[in-house]
């Protein structure tokens, strides 16, 4: 019930970071009614809606209101992300539900990359027009200067975390404002070693394009002062230490009140540039945004026509939003069922007990969506026997993911086979090899034994299957490796039940099944810190055998390169995340190609092949993902749609689109 249970900031930080990309789509849902923005009109507009408060619950304190700090690491918690969702907009974002790449404050798609020589150096350049009439909450125009300023600040100060991802110094040279509404982006054409490079989708479209834009007028003096603070590190500290006061925002909400430990309140910005805009999606794939306020009708991905799959008006329809801060999930859910709040942000996934409670309340709706995450078991492929592909396949074959997820965990988890979750439909490859799926226990054991023997493993005594074919009547004994030596004791390190019952349960069952086929595995259930520390220790190559952890994923699946490219092994790159030391030239070439891929279709093709490759070679055995459940009170609030990858929580609660009744 404590803070501990509800939230481990470590995992949240990672969720937050990964969701930062997802959050971009939440920014899709925002606009402004065509009203005079005088003080009187503003009051008149907010007066009747005075009661329309979006009452939500969160169960940990946001860290900071400083957006630089939130996006730059130290304050990067998922809770901060929820409350700051209405503060910053981006050039591009994802469309509703379909996750198409669409302009947000950009007036159109960028021009194609072209090689250009400026002042004797060669660059990849592209130009982006910015929409006219986009205003900060204080009524000033949002211009190309603001974008250039934000990029410049991130580059000059060397900001980390998400800033470093958005503003990738390996590729990005600079961003210039040609005039108040025209941007020009300069990418480097060669890398540090002089090899030619292309800024691919992950660098430009899904990288820089998704960077939040902060107001130059407010921040320039503060950044200037920070730059005078001495060492780079102190400069960053100085910037992050600033507590915003009257900072203009651009995504629908402005700060109103933060009572530490109790609640956080934002007010709707009545001049939000998308307020009143109507978003229409057609079944033929076309997408139309009609923004009367800006006098703009934009159509993307085909011609409007035929049946509509979605249509709604952007808000904010709420006059303000209150995030009540609870100490833990129990208290938050209790408050929800009690009627104190109408929606609870729940990044942990709602377990069955909470679902029962919510259902019993009667006036609450539960929506279930796939989540964009993977929980997996990894192998240290540097060490025998984990270096043998058939061994890994045999391990995968005996793991009955359906049994654990459906019977034991009662549907709290969903089985997974590909490294891209099914919910991420555009990028998910459904036709990969699903080793062991649908087999009975006996068939699994048989398959595993066959695989092991085909690779040269031998038994003193093979495992015996009981008469009904579902029970291992005697465990395999004396499993020997192809070179004749005994298979050594293997440690499977996994989170303890205290940290995550789902992964602990999987670990215990995997231990049992592997022991059945004679593999001497011992599950070591440890604290999260202990596992992470082991993965990041210098001796990871020697000490690690097998481990179970999870990743929150991005929509664009370039993470496969981060996890499995040999250049990301810790021995090749300090802090690399390919802990298992997976190294395969063919895979490396494919994965690296993804980074410089500039077309969506080409990227998809590569992503599909990467998934096929991984499903067969199995440096990870993907185990499961969790369904994302959201619950809200339909008698009080209404969302334009609720079926979306990552759920309502993944969209930060759709603050700009939610209707308050």
């Amino acid at each position: 019930m404590s803070a501990v249970l509800s939230v481990r900031p470590a995992i949240l930080a990672s969720i937050a970071a990964a969701l930062a990309v997802l959050s971009a789509c939440a920014r899709e849902d925002a606009a402004e009614m065509p009203i005079e923005v005088t003080e009187a009109a503003r009051e008149a507009a907010t007066e009747p809606a005075g009661q329309a408060v979006y009452r939500t619950g969160i169960f940990a304190e946001p860290i900071s209101r400083n957006y630089w700090s939130f996006y730059g690491g130290p304050a990067g918690s998922v809770w901060t992300q929820y409350v700051l969702d209405g503060y910053a907009t981006t050039l591009y974002g994802y469309s509703d539900r379909r996750f198409d790449w669409v302009p947000v404050i950009a007036a159109d798609f960028p021009t194609d990359l072209k090689k250009e020589t400026v002042d004797g150096s060669e660059f990849w350049t592209t130009e982006v027009p910015i929409k006219e009439g986009v205003q900060w909450s204080d009524g000033e125009e949002l211009t190309a200067e603001d974008v250039a300023f934000t990029v410049r600040t991130a580059l000059d100060l060397g900001l980390g975390a998400n800033w470093a991802r958005a503003v990738d110094t390996a590729f990005l040279e600079r961003v210039d404002a040609l005039d108040s509404h025209q941007l020009k982006v300069f990418f480097k054409t060669i890398d540090e070693d002089g090899n030619p490079q292309t800024p691919g989708l992950s660098v430009w479209q899904f990288g820089l394009g998704f960077m939040p834009i902060l107001p130059e007028r407010y921040w320039a003096p503060i950044v200037e002062e920070a730059k005078r603070a001495g060492e780079p590190q102190q400069q960053i500290e100085s910037l992050f230490a600033h507590v915003p006061d009257g900072e203009p925002t651009s995504n629908g909400f402005t700060f109103s009140r933060w009572e530490a430990g109790a609640f956080f309140e934002n007010e709707a910005a009545s001049n939000f540039f998308r307020k009143g805009a109507v978003i229409t999606q057609y079944e033929n794939g076309a997408l139309v945004e009609t923004n009367e306020r800006l006098g703009q009708v934009s159509t993307f991905y085909g011609e409007a026509g035929g049946g509509k799959s979605l249509e709604y008006e952007v808000g904010p329809h709420a006059s303000s939003e209150i995030f009540s801060i609870y100490g833990n999930q129990d208290a938050a859910i209790l408050a929800l069922t009690n009627g104190d709040v109408d929606y609870v942000f729940n990044p942990l996934g709602m377990e069955r007990g909470f679902q029962d409670r919510v259902r019993a309340a009667g006036d609450l709706e539960i929506v279930t969506n796939p989540d964009n995450s993977v929980f997996y078991m990894g192998f240290n492929v540097r060490k025998p026997p984990m270096n043998v592909r058939e061994f890994r396949q045999a391990v995968a074959a005996v793991i009955d993911k359906e049994f654990v997820t459906q019977s034991i965990l009662q549907g709290s988890a969903l089985p997974m086979y590909a490294m891209v979750p099914e919910g991420n439909a555009y990028w998910h490859n459904p036709d990969i090899d699903k080793i062991g799926q649908g087999l009975s226990r006996g068939e699994r054991v048989e398959r595993a034994v066959d695989l092991l023997k085909s690779a040269g493993f031998t038994y003193d005594q093979e495992p015996q299957i009981g008469e009904d074919g579902n029970v291992v009547s005697s465990q395999g004994q004396g499993l020997k490796m192809p070179d004749g030596s005994d298979v050594p004791g293997i440690e499977l390190i996994a989170p303890s039940a205290g940290y995550d019952p789902l992964r602990a349960t999987f670990a215990i069952w995997i231990e049992r099944w592997l022991n059945d086929i004679g593999i001497p595995v011992r599950a070591n259930l440890a604290g999260f810190n202990v596992i992470v520390d082991k993965l990041f220790s210098d001796s990871v190559a020697e000490d690690l055998d097998m481990w179970i952890l999870g990743w929150s994923l991005t929509i664009f699946p370039d993470y496969m390169e981060s996890y499995f490219h040999s250049r990301n092994a810790p021995e090749n790159q300090d802090g690399g995340e390919n802990w298992g030391g997976y190294a395969n030239q063919e895979f490396d070439d494919l994965a690296f190609g993804l980074l410089s891929e500039t077309t969506i279709e080409g990227a998809r093709d590569t992503v599909f092949r990467l998934q096929e490759f991984l499903a067969e070679d199995l440096p990870y055995v993907p185990l499961f993902t969790i369904p994302k459940l959201d619950s809200y009170r339909p008698s009080r609030i209404e969302f334009p749609y609720t079926d979306v990858l990552g759920g309502l929580e993944g969209l930060n609660g759709m603050q700009q689109a939610v209707l308050i009744k």
Binding site: S2, L5, D330, A360, P501, L525, A526, G527
Partner: protein, 316 residues
């Protein structure tokens, strides 16, 4: 009272006399203990849980199928929905992961006892040595040990344990040691020192010294035995705090263990059943009540022993 009963016959050897005296004292103390009444209730509860703990391995090897009733990896295939309410097969129902609650409860009872025993033994070993040494040597040894005790006493116990278990991997063994050390060098040591002070001034200690007994010898043979009754009392309180701490830390999800009462509540909590008091009572009450009952029983026994050991509280 029959304190000074004479040996029953002359041919009884000395050890028999001693044994008789000891038995008499025990009987007398038992009478005082029983008179305090609350201790007996506590003792009954402790025995009940000890029986539960002892019965678990027996049940597992006879009537309970391991694949169903194993407290950690068992799974009840008969129930379609987990957690299942109590039934004939599962007298206390199953947990959210389909495991038998009664089996978990009994299995955990054993580890609670082991944990309590470990913490208590460590406390007593350290406490008596610290108390005896401080009293016997006095001076700088006393000062150092007592300042150390001050620090230990001032350590915010729960907070220390939370920090430690969040930062390093803590299981039952480490927990027992930490609690034992905290208590032994801290409160227990101080109390035993004041008791030891009244022992070291006794003439026979002086005599032993004159006879050339080394400090270690004197402390172990003459001082420590006199501290044992009182330290036994403090063992009870240590057991209470060990079980309580384990429950709280497991509940917070900070211990790397596979099963315990606290972890049962944690499982209930993380599955979201903690506030469903009437709907899922079997997930909440057995473990919580067990923790409470066992903790308070050891405490009550300790209090009653206090009545026996502490002369000022004895009835006239």
């Amino acid at each position: 009272m029959d304190v000074q009963r004479a040996p029953r016959s002359v041919d009884h050897s000395l050890w028999r006399t001693r044994l008789g005296l000891a038995a008499d004292r025990l009987r007398e103390n038992w009478a005082a203990f029983v008179r305090a009444r609350v201790g007996v209730i506590g003792l009954a509860v402790i025995i009940f849980y000890a029986l539960l703990a002892a019965a678990h391995p027996v049940l597992m090897s006879t009537v309970w199928d391991e694949s169903i009733y194993d407290p950690v990896v068992g799974y009840s295939f008969d129930e379609t929905r987990q957690p299942a309410p109590p039934s004939l097969r599962h007298p206390l129902g199953t947990d959210p992961l389909g495991r038998d609650i009664l089996s978990q409860l009994m299995f955990s009872a054993r580890s609670e006892f082991m944990l309590g025993l470990l913490a208590a033994v460590v406390t007593v070993c350290i406490g008596t040595m610290v108390g005896a040494a401080a009293a016997y040597f006095g001076g700088i040894v006393d000062t150092i040990l007592m300042r150390l005790a001050d620090i230990m006493i001032m350590m915010p116990g729960i907070s220390v344990l939370i920090v430690l278990s969040a930062l390093i991997g803590v299981e039952h063994l480490e927990l027992g040691l930490i609690i034992g050390v905290l208590s032994g060098f801290g409160g227990t040591g101080v109390v035993l020192k004041s008791q030891a002070l009244s022992v070291v001034v006794k003439p026979y200690i002086q005599a032993a010294r004159v006879a050339g007994g080394g400090p270690l010898h004197i402390i172990l043979v003459h001082v420590v035995p006199n501290l044992l009754p009182l330290s036994f009392l403090y063992m009870m309180f240590t057991v209470t705090s060990a079980i309580f701490s384990e429950a709280v830390l497991s509940f917070l999800g900070l211990l790397d263990i596979r099963m315990s009462w606290g972890l049962m509540i944690h499982t209930t909590e993380s599955a979201g059943y903690l506030t469903q008091v009437t709907e899922a009572w079997w997930l909440i009450f057995p473990a919580s009540l067990s923790i409470t009952l066992l903790c308070s029983s050891f405490y009550l026994v300790g209090r009653s022993l206090d009545e026996v050991v502490n002369p000022r509280l004895r009835r006239a």
